[in-house]
C-alpha cells in the first residue's frame, strides 16, 4: 500500500473530493431493509452507490435528511416510482431488473429504467426540500414552455405546447414533473447538453457545475424550405454568422385578417466567406425569416378559423426572398425591417430558442390571444432573458414594434431616409407603389389610351398583347413588371375564389378521388410545418444520426411532391374553365413576348 501519492495527484484527488463531495450514501439515502435478503440489500446499496455520485454535490447536499429508499410491490404497473413523505418507493420489479443486470453491458434498457426512476424521485425530493427552487423559477417555466400570457393579469398559460420531440410526455404534466424528467436526462444522458442546451445551462448554473463540453452536432438545425424553388434542405445555422436580427413588419392592408400587419424576425445571415458586419445587410439571398404561421404556402388566414382557434401556429424558417415575393408582390404590402439592438450572445440564445420551437412547438393560433405578435413577443421574451424584464407584451404587430422602440431595442433610424431604406433593404415597398410610375413610362412610349395602371391591367391579355411588340427597352421593362402583376393577380383571384367555394360546401361523391389526391398531397407537404416528422425518434434538437435521416426523408418527400405536382398540373389544364385557361395562357404568352423583346433590346443597349 502506498502511503504517499505523488503530490500533484494528491492535489487532484483533493480537488475531486471537494468537487464531488464525499460519497456520503449512507447519510443521504438510507435503505429500508424490510423483506430484503442480504444480497438484495447489497444490490440496493450498489444502486445507490451507482446513482448518488452522478448527482451534483449541491443536489446531494440539498436532499432532505432521513430519506429512505423502499422497494414496494403493488405499485400500479405504469408507475416507475413514488414519493411519500421522506420515503422513495420504487417498484420491486426494478430491483429484480437491477440484480439481473449484465455487468458488461452498461447501457441496457432495464438498467436505464432503474437509474431514471431513482434520479426522478431524488429530483422531486430535492426540488421540494428547496421549496420548489427549480420548478417555481420563472425562467425555468419560460424555458419549459409554460409561457407568459400577453395579458399580464392572466399570468402564465396553463397549457404547454412544446409537445413534439419530448423525451417523455409526462414532463408536460406540471412544472415539477418537467424538472424531474429533465434532471433525469441532465444527469444520465450525455446528449442532453446538445438537445436542450438552454435547460442544460440553466441546471448547470443552478447546481454550480461546469457546462458540459461534449461535442454536439454543429450549428442549429432548421428545415430550410424554399417553396419557390421547390427545395427542402437541412440548414445548420451558425449563430456567429448572423450579424443582426431585425424586427420585420409586414404592413397591414384592408383585408380583415391582415389589417394589423404581421410580425416576423429577419436573420441577417452573412454570405459564406464574408466577415460578419454591415456588409452582410445586402446578402439578401442568405437572409432567413422566422415567421409564425399555419402553413408554408398560405399567408392568408380565414377569420373564422382564427377566432375558433383551429389553426396551428408553428415557427417556419423562410428565405427572405420568398417573404419579399409573398408580401410585396402577391399581397401588395410593404415590409419594414428594423434592426434589434442585441448582443452576440443574445442573438445566439434567441436562435437557439427558435430552433427549439421549430422542432418541438405546436401552438394554436388565436386571433387576439395568440397571434403572430404574441408569438414573436414570447420568442423574444423566452429567448433573450434581458427582454423578459422589459415591458413588451402586445397583441398587435405595430404595438409590439412601438414598445420595442420605446425600450430602445428596435432601431427605426435606418428607415428615416426613404430612398436609402429601399436601396439597402430596410424597406421593401409594395410592388403596387411602382405601378403608376411604370405605366406612365409605357404610356408615353406607346401612346397608350388607358388612363392608369388599373385600366391597363383590366384589359384582357389579348388586348395588351398587340402593344407589346412596339415597346422600346424602357417601356418593355415597365410592361414586364405590370404583366407579372397581372399574372399574380389572376392566380390569386382563382385561388381565393376556389378556396371560398370549396371550403363552403360538402364535397360530393364525384370529387372523392380528387379529394383523396388532395389529402395525399397535403399529407406529403405536412412535413414542412412539422419538421419533426422527418426525424423519427429522439428528443429536442436533432443530432447527427437524426440529421442524416431528416435529409434523406426530406429528399424522398420532395421527389414525391414533384411527381405528384406534374400530374396535377396536367389535370388542372383540363379542369380549368375555358375563359380562365385562356387568360392564364394569354398572360404567359405576353411574358414570353416581353422576355424575348428585352433580351434583344437589352443586349443591343449594353
Amino acid at each position: 500500500m502506498h502511503l504517499r501519492r505523488p503530490r500533484g495527484r494528491r492535489i487532484a484527488a483533493l480537488l475531486l473530493w471537494a468537487w464531488l463531495g464525499p460519497v456520503a450514501t449512507a447519510t443521504a439515502l438510507e435503505i429500508d431493509p424490510t423483506h430484503l435478503a442480504a444480497d438484495d440489500i447489497a444490490a440496493t446499496q450498489g444502486l445507490v452507490d451507482d446513482v448518488l455520485p452522478r448527482l451534483p454535490r449541491a443536489w446531494r447536499d440539498g436532499l432532505p435528511a432521513g430519506l429512505v429508499l423502499e422497494w414496494r410491490d403493488g405499485l400500479p404497473a405504469h408507475v416507475a416510482g413514488r414519493r411519500v413523505g421522506d420515503r422513495i418507493l420504487l417498484p420491486r420489479r426494478l430491483l429484480e431488473a437491477w440484480r439481473a443486470r449484465d455487468a458488461v453491458a452498461t447501457e441496457d434498457e432495464p438498467l436505464r429504467a432503474v437509474r431514471h426512476a431513482l434520479v426522478h424521485e431524488l429530483a422531486h425530493a430535492y426540488d421540494r426540500a428547496q421549496r420548489n427552487a427549480l420548478s417555481g423559477d420563472p425562467r425555468l417555466r419560460d424555458l419549459a414552455g409554460w409561457q407568459r400570457s400577453a395579458f399580464a393579469i392572466a399570468g402564465r398559460r396553463s397549457r404547454n405546447d412544446f409537445v413534439v420531440r419530448t423525451p417523455d410526455p409526462y414532463e408536460l404534466r406540471r412544472p415539477s414533473e418537467f424538472v424531474a424528467v429533465n434532471l433525469e436526462h441532465f444527469v444520465l444522458d450525455p446528449a442532453y447538453a446538445c438537445r436542450r442546451p438552454a435547460l442544460h445551462r440553466h441546471f448547470s448554473a443552478h447546481f454550480g457545475v461546469p457546462v458540459s463540453t461534449q461535442a454536439c452536432a454543429p450549428g442549429l438545425p432548421f428545415l430550410d424550405v424554399d417553396a419557390e424553388a421547390g427545395e427542402a434542405a437541412l440548414l445548420a445555422l451558425d449563430p456567429a454568422r448572423v450579424y443582426e436580427v431585425d424586427y420585420l413588419l409586414a404592413e397591414g392592408n384592408t383585408q380583415a385578417m391582415s389589417r394589423w400587419g404581421h410580425s416576423m424576425l429577419r436573420l441577417v445571415v452573412c454570405a459564406p466567406g464574408r466577415m460578419p458586419g454591415p456588409e452582410c445587410r445586402l446578402d439578401l439571398a442568405h437572409h432567413r425569416v422566422l415567421s409564425f404561421r399555419a402553413f408554408v404556402g398560405d399567408v392568408q388566414i380565414s377569420g373564422w378559423r382564427g377566432l375558433t382557434g383551429s389553426y396551428p401556429s408553428r415557427l417556419f424558417l423562410l428565405p427572405l426572398d420568398q417573404v419579399i415575393e409573398e408580401y410585396t408582390r402577391v399581397e401588395l404590402r410593404g415590409l419594414q425591417s428594423m434592426p434589434l439592438r442585441l448582443q452576440k450572445h443574445e442573438i445566439a440564445s434567441l436562435l437557439e430558442r427558435a430552433a427549439q420551437l421549430h422542432w418541438s412547438y405546436d401552438g394554436r393560433y388565436y386571433f387576439i390571444g395568440n397571434n403572430c405578435a404574441v408569438e414573436t413577443w414570447k420568442l423574444l421574451h423566452d429567448g433573450v432573458p434581458r427582454l423578459a424584464d422589459a415591458s413588451l407584451a402586445s397583441i398587435t404587430p405595430t404595438g409590439l414594434l412601438r414598445k420595442l422602440e420605446r425600450e430602445g431595442i428596435a432601431d427605426r433610424r435606418p428607415l428615416a431616409d426613404a430612398d436609402e431604406a429601399r436601396r439597402l433593404g430596410y424597406y421593401f415597398e409594395p410592388a403596387s407603389a411602382r405601378y403608376e410610375a411604370l405605366f406612365a413610362v409605357a404610356r408615353e412610349a406607346l401612346a397608350l389610351p388607358q388612363r392608369d395602371a388599373a385600366a391597363w391591367l383590366a384589359l384582357s391579355p389579348g388586348e395588351r398583347a398587340r402593344w407589346l411588340p412596339q415597346a422600346d427597352l424602357k417601356a418593355s421593362a415597365a410592361l414586364l413588371v405590370l404583366e407579372n402583376a397581372a399574372q399574380r393577380r389572376q392566380q390569386l383571384l382563382l385561388r381565393d375564389e376556389l378556396k371560398r367555394r370549396y371550403l363552403g360546401h360538402a364535397v360530393p361523391d364525384d370529387a372523392a378521388a380528387a379529394l383523396e389526391a388532395l389529402k395525399a398531397w397535403l399529407g406529403d407537404t405536412s412535413f414542412v410545418s412539422r419538421p419533426a416528422e422527418l426525424a423519427g425518434g429522439g428528443y429536442g434538437l436533432p443530432q447527427s444520426a437524426e440529421r442524416g435521416r431528416i435529409v434523406a426523408e426530406a429528399r424522398a418527400r420532395v421527389a414525391r411532391l414533384r411527381d405528384q405536382d406534374a400530374s396535377m398540373r396536367r389535370d388542372l389544364e383540363r379542369w380549368l374553365p375555358g375563359d380562365q385557361r385562356e387568360a392564364l395562357r394569354g398572360i404567359e404568352a405576353n411574358l414570353e413576348t416581353i422576355g424575348a423583346r428585352l433580351r434583344t433590346l437589352a443586349s443591343d443597349a449594353s
Partner: protein
C-alpha cells in the same frame, strides 16, 4: 363548374407556393441536402433572378426606382465578375434583363 373541377383546380392552387414551384422548377432532384451554412440554394443565378423585377423598374425609371434586390445583385456581380466592375449600374441592370 362541377365539384370535381373545383377540387382539381384547388389541388394546384391551395398550396400555391409549393405547388406553383414544384412545377416549372428546373432545379435538380438532389436539392434536399445538408448544408453547413446557408449557401445551399443561393447561387449566382438565383440572386440575379430575384433581382429581375427590381432591374426592370430601375431600367424603366432611368434609375430612379432602386430596390435592395437589385442592389444586392449589382454588388454580387461586381464581387464575382471582373467585367462587371467596369460596367455602370444601368448596364448591369440591362444585362440582368437580357438573361
Amino acid at each position: 363548374m362541377s365539384r370535381l373541377i373545383l377540387a382539381g383546380v384547388l389541388l394546384a392552387f391551395s398550396v400555391p407556393a409549393l405547388a406553383g414551384s414544384f412545377a416549372g422548377s428546373s432545379a435538380g432532384a438532389s436539392s434536399a441536402g445538408s448544408s453547413a451554412s446557408s449557401d445551399s440554394s443561393s447561387g449566382d443565378d438565383k440572386i440575379v433572378v430575384q433581382a429581375r423585377e427590381d432591374a426592370a423598374s430601375f431600367v424603366a425609371s432611368d434609375g430612379r426606382i432602386r430596390g435592395a434586390q437589385l442592389e444586392a445583385a449589382l454588388r454580387h456581380l461586381r464581387e464575382t465578375d471582373q467585367a462587371a466592375r467596369r460596367a455602370s449600374d444601368m448596364q448591369l441592370a440591362q444585362a440582368i434583363l437580357a438573361r
